[in-house]
């Protein structure tokens, strides 16, 4: 059997420059889970429906099962492992809110859900119910019935808004 084509792939993943020799037709989800051992990005439906593999590419939420390596060459990619609070090793306010409000059960959808929430709150710091539903309707959860997730997103929104304000105050 002939050796598969190898290609040089680079991107910034969670703030670190990554160089890999991989086929450019490798799916991003496999780049992350298999080549970079970032298994926080989950694999579930593989057709872009469930959102378990959601990551941020240049700040936009994307199902990583639908993206090929060549499509995100040179991009800035954030996975769940790249999300944290003010300091590395601390929980991001979104993550903290999910823990406090019971916004997860089995937890398998949670990384994708948290990533989508990050994108949602970046775009809408104080989201309406409709914006929450729009922002998260690409993420399926089978355990929670979404109740805890909605409560977590609301709380995270309040926290993030608070953090933003205090940062601005410090700056000014």
């Amino acid at each position: 059997m002939s050796k598969p084509l190898e290609n040089h792939w680079t991107a910034v993943v969670n703030g670190e420059q990554k160089h890999l020799e991989i086929a450019q037709t490798t799916r991003l989800v496999d780049v992350l889970r298999t080549h970079l051992q970032l298994t926080g990005t989950k694999v579930s439906c593989e057709v872009g429906r469930c959102g378990a593999c959601m990551v941020l590419i240049d700040g936009e939420p994307v199902n990583s099962c639908l993206v090929m390596a060549y499509q995100c060459e040179g991009s800035d990619i954030t996975t769940i492992e790249g999300l944290h609070g003010e300091e590395k090793g601390t929980l991001h306010p979104i993550q903290q809110a999910f823990v406090e409000e019971g916004g997860f059960q089995c937890g398998y959808c949670t990384p994708g859900m948290v990533i989508s929430t990050k994108a949602l709150l970046d775009a809408h710091p104080e989201p309406s119910q409709d914006q929450i539903e729009t922002g998260l309707c690409g993420n399926l959860c089978r355990c929670t019935g979404y109740g805890g997730i909605i409560r977590a997103v609301r709380k995270a929104g309040e926290r993030c808004a608070l953090t933003e304000t205090s940062t601005e105050e410090t700056v000014s």
Binding site: M1, Q96, C106, C137, C143, T144
Partner: protein, 820 residues
Amino acid sequence: MLLNRKQSGKRWHLRPDGAPKVTGQLQYLTDMTLPDMIHGRVLRSEYPYARLLSIDTSEAEALEGVYAVLTSKDVPGLNRFGIATPDQPVFCEDIVRYVGDAIAAVAADSPERAALALDAIRVVYEELTPLNSTDAALAPGAPELHEHGPGNVLHRTEIKRGDAEQAFATCDHIVTETYYTPRQMHAYMETEGGLFVPDEEGRLNVYAATQHGYKDRMQLARIIGCPEEDIRVVSSPIGGSFGGKDELNVQPYGALLALRCGRPVKMHNSRKESVRAGLKRHPMKIEMQTGMSREGIIHAHRVRITADTGAYATLGAPVLNFCTEHCLGPYAIPNVDVEGVSVYTNNGVSGEFRGFGGNQAIFGMEGQMDRLAEIMNMDPWEFRRRNMREKNDPGPLNQRILVTDGLSQVWEALDRSELWQKHQSPPADPALPPWIKRGVGAAIAMHGAGLGYGIPDPAGGRLSLNNEGKIEVAFSYEEFGQGLVATLEIMLCDLFQCSTSDLSIIIGDTDRVPHSGSSTASRSTTMAWMALQRLQTPFRSRALAVASEMSDIPADELVTGPGGIWRKGQLPADTSEVETDVQKTGKSEKAERTEVAEIVAGGTESAQIAESYSGVSQYQAKLEAPSDFVVSYAELAMQGEADEWIFDTKFDYPTTPDNVVGGHYLYTYAAVAAEVEVNTLTGETKLLDTRHVVAAGPVINPMGYIGQIEGGSVMALGFTLTEDAVMQDSRYVTTNLDTYLIPTIRDIHTNLEVEAIEDLPEGDSFGPRGIGEIGSVALAPAITAAIHQATGVRVNRLPVQREQLVRPLNVPLQEGVSPS
């Protein structure tokens, strides 16, 4: 008590697996890898029903990078599995019976190469006409799918009481209806898979999800032909199950491939393969005839249940037993004539699923109640009350059950609720366009817990002080998301007034836990509670006696507390409660962040390999340990031999004393009201508001309780409105989550309230009841009753067909406009 975070106060307990889950640090068993692992794949049948004429694996075996190709002749032991009736072949020998049937398995150095190898296996079939319905399978002359017939009947059930035929003759009103329920899919987010690792001592380590590690071990040993002790099953954490991973799925293939290759083998089903091969909820046809007097008292009930169990038995028989028991509802009916049949077909395999046949039965029975009440022109809730069983009446199978007030309590609580009160004056909003209709409906249910009379249902557990000075519990239960570990923490902190950092919780590892039964049938919380009740006294007695010797303080002046043994009256007040979020948030923001840092650091360190789920305790936030105790647990643990600190118990789940197979003893009760909005132009139903009232004894873990009821409710919403794994000619048409539609965040009820009734009879020795299923069993009939109030349509088939609800627009036409 209305259950929410605010009401829960200090009992709102943060899950120890929270931080690792929200950071993606937690390694599920399908995330695990080892450097020298290879990849396993299964070749499944091309046809739902066919004779296997030949299988040629030579081309696949010759491929570079392929380590093994296995077929039925490579199974050293029993080529069958199945929890109750082992009739499912690991690899088919001569017949395939459904599209998920396995014919061969391969292991290769990459998933892609494994897929190539599957393509290279040449199978010659003689295609047969599939039995694609229960009617086809029961038709005279239908081929028998299994030798253990008769015919294609897996199981029959029967309840006969009084003389239904005669009673019907005297009834003033009879309602006859046939109900159909869908082939619901569990749709757990993590598909089946795991890692199978043979070790140097010749043992096989199985890291794969199940609801009962010991049962998997027993079945795998039977397949491999080895002693059970040669296998270790690690089975938590799990990315959802809902009953769907209780049966073996990838385990036989991973195990056989790993042993053949002598290397770790990773298996992970794609979603499509998961749909094709995995279990579903039994589709059922339930014919019901219910007769009553002119006063509205039910005298006779006739039921015929037909369940499509698919190609193999799995738990088809117990599911039918449960459905049969629950199709009488919580009502006192003197004349009963019920027959059930579970039928083999060439459709997908039906098995265990949250609610376990209760959902289908309750949908039918509650539908009957609404139809009967309508004939009486009576409030449907009042009609139910008139016919409800009395507190001391026997259970549905005429068996003795534990007496509680649960049924009348949930009835009354729902009756009082604002939501149900809306039913009296149907909600109308003049601002709504005329094609939007609203209605309110309700339903009630009693739901059995545990496996039932006559089925082995062992329980037990182990409590010890381990050599690190942790209070350690070990159970063979699994954490598949329900919050079991958090619940155990709360129970232990309640019992010993200790802090969570004093605890070590071990589950999901057959090498480290005693056999205490499965996590199923809403049983784990009750069984863990009962085990701890039995274990706490010997544990405490020894701990206090040893501490007394060490300190010269009389044992009766000592108590257990955070960090160790304390003098009575000197326990720090704040730590005598379960550590809670409320306490944490009481600290400064900075302090909170520091704690979180510790959580995450612990997570990274331990995420290397999921040795067992006990690892989660490492994520627990560390409190500043108070140090005024008399003797620390660590010092205690150094006294005497280690095994003197280990306490075991064994018992069985409580069952009715009456000889009725499958009959339950402990029941939980639920009442649900639902308000819907139906768009009669599109047929779309939107659930606006629900109230679940649940009587299941004391709430141990409020966050978990709410989560289970909310999650069960939304799963039931899917069952009612959108979910059906459609089969055409015994092949799945809905093969993934883009066509099989589970509720999204947009589809759920915008308001969902949970009311918990915590009362139990004085001196009740069974403690909190499980609530894993009760949230999912009664919503469907409440929604369909609400749809009826909104539209006048009586729904008898789930999921609700939109076209049934579409109505011509009944508004005056504008002048000059004529209907086309």
